[in-house]
Amino acid sequence: MKWIQRQKYFLDFTLSSLLRRKGKHLSLLVVYTLIVFLLGSVMLFAGAVRKTAVDVLTDGPEMTVQRIIAGRHDFIPLQYIEPIQKIRGVRTVRPRLWGYHFHPASGANYTLMAAPDFEYGPDQVIVGAGVVRSWSGIAEDRLYLVGFDGRAHLLKIVETLDSGVDLAAADLILMSASTFRDITGVPEGYAADLAVEIRNPRECATIAEKVVRLFPETRPILKSEILRTYAAVFDWRSGYVVVLLAGSVLAFFIFAWDRAVGLSAEERGEIGVLRAVGWDVSDILILKWWEGGVVSLTAFFLGMIGAYFHVFLASAPLFAHALKGWAVLYPELHLYPDPNPYEIGALFFLTVVPFGFVTLIPAWKAAVTDPVSVMR
């Protein structure tokens, strides 16, 4: 209890001494907060995008089978379905029809997809929110598309998808299979790829092997592989952004060091008086430790709160492009807050821990100042 009381006095003294020199500490606090804000934004954003990608893929099929001809993705014959269906462990095999459509007026690529149980008629479509936003020349909920053979198609928008599933659905135009074939020219009897549902996810690798043995020109892609790639991509990108920011972080630490070394005559005098009235070197070190601690934690919390608002409320305008990639038509990404101790811990280790280190030596230098020489 005595120890806690003692620390309380130290903290009290530190706070009053910090408040007495607001100007000096404010600039440090602002830069420190900015550094935490930048690094925190990168980490929160990468973590949240990674989570969103995982959420989007969770409902996807365990395996997708594509046909590769001369190293290029080609349409897969529907006769392949039955032999794959017969492999033990496979639950369902569903052909998928999808492709891209470049719209010159808006300069964007849209994803055309045939929905399996499309409830609307031919030439009617369901579109993602991004399509409505970006499609130039959209008139009275009608989309004007030029098909593969140069014929014009006028499609009626009957529904717009909720932007909650934006990352995957922003550029999506859903239609019936016949409309799809009509626009893209994919012949009957072919699909873009096959979505394979598997009973036991542990059997994926074996089933993939069997598919390749049956049809050597196919390429099975596992959901776990896609998830792993996403994890790697966002992890890596956030790492590189941190490396790019390393220069500013280093500059900040040098600034902090400089600030801590360059004590004003008044501060020196104060330490001298404290030493003269009986404070030990270790007491001054504790005082300095509290001083660094108060500044650090204030900056850490302010920066963290700022990063939280930046990423989750403003959709990270500063970093979004670098981290998620870019395109004319990009989903309006609303990330869901998912604070986890890993990101907070990593940020703490990148900022507060080195700050503590760089201010130690200056604090010691200040503490061992000879009181007599200072006060003279």
Binding site: R228, L350, A363, W364
Partner: protein, 333 residues
């Protein structure tokens, strides 16, 4: 090399810890042959001043080692989805040969730094720095271990190859595996539980006795060290199984995941605090005959004993709670 903010933070922090421990070691080399408190020479005064800096730096290293131990495991855990087959830190750490040695060295360093801080505290409370030689000899060892640790960590992060198919904790700690971890997980639960509870009661009883009489410091230290190791084995053998409520899941790392309410953190932190405090009591006891420490050390031991009691009691409570209050029954499997 795996670029990830947490990996970068651990590497930068590890290098700073090496610098801090290295500075302490340099000071140690200067102090060990030349320390003479009776001398008023400028050199002696400068050395005395520098000991404050060394204490502060080593205090920072201690804090870093302790926090970074958890950060290291957590980062390994976070990276598990990059590796085929890995489901938590257990799998990620086996990706290359550096993972587990780095972890073990980190644990050792955290314990050593904890003990060093205790010796330093005793030393600075006596006016004549009676433990200065012991302290700086220990710094030399800690500095060497810190360098080894960052070397192993760099080796680990640089050789992370996401194509390697690793194992998940289910196979690493499965009872069929002929590995040390597998053998430890395979220990008969009833026998291990009996030894664990007997040791828990023993170490808490011994701590209570020491708290009242001040005798038996050496025995308490040995028992604390034994309990520390036994508790880690018991986590593998049955504590984790009760927390997961799965008779085949023996992983010591999944406890740190969100799915289990991060219960591993209080579990391991209480064990480390109790273990370090307990071993510290015995270590300090070796110096209590020194004149300037005859009062300081019993006071410290008294407080440390209270820490042992709180630490191990908390650990015991967390370990026992699922055994008593969950529907899961391990006995019979």
């Amino acid at each position: 090399m795996w670029m990830n903010p947490a990996v970068l933070a651990l590497i930068v922090g590890g290098i700073l810890a090496c610098i801090a421990a290295g500075y302490g070691a340099r000071l140690g080399i200067a102090i060990l042959p030349n320390w003479n408190l009776t001398s008023g020479s400028e050199r002696q005064l400068a050395m005395e001043r520098k000991t404050y800096l060394a204490s502060a730096l080593l205090g920072w290293v201690m804090m870093f080692e302790f926090l970074s131990l958890f950060m290291f495991v957590h980062t390994a855990d976070h990276l598990h989805d990059l590796f085929v087959g890995a489901m938590c830190a257990a799998g990620t750490l086996t990706v290359n040969a550096y993972g587990y040695p780095a972890l073990i060295l980190k644990i050792l360093n955290a314990v050593l730094c904890g003990l060093w801080v205790l010796i330093n505290h005793a030393d600075t409370r006596a006016p004549d720095y009676p433990l200065i030689r012991v302290k700086y000899t220990a710094v030399l060892i800690i500095a060497a271990l810190s360098v080894m640790e960052i070397g192993l960590q760099l080796g680990y992060w640089m050789h992370l190859d996401p194509n390697v198919i690793t194992s998940c904790c289910g196979t690493l700690f499965s009872t069929d595996r002929q590995t040390l971890a597998g053998d430890l997980a395979h220990l008969p639960p009833v026998g291990t539980m009996m030894v664990f509870f007997a040791s828990l009661v023993g170490v808490v009883g011994m701590a209570l006795w020491f708290y009242r009489t001040g005798r038996g410091a050496g025995v308490l230290a040995v028992m604390s060290g034994w309990f520390f190791i036994l508790a880690l084995i018991s986590i593998l053998s049955f504590i984790s199984v009760y927390i997961y409520q799965l008779p085949t899941h023996h992983c010591p790392f999944c406890l740190l995941q969100r799915e289990y309410g991060y219960i591993g953190y209080p579990l391991y932190v209480s064990l480390f605090i109790g273990g370090i405090a307990g071993m510290g009591i015995g270590l300090l006891n070796r110096f209590k005959e020194i004149d300037s420490l005859t009062e300081v050390i019993p006071q410290m031991q008294h407080r440390l004993c209270l820490t042992v009691l709180i630490g191990f009691a908390l650990f015991g409570t967390i370990a026992v709670y699922p055994i008593l209050f969950s529907d899961f029954r391990l006995i019979g499997y």
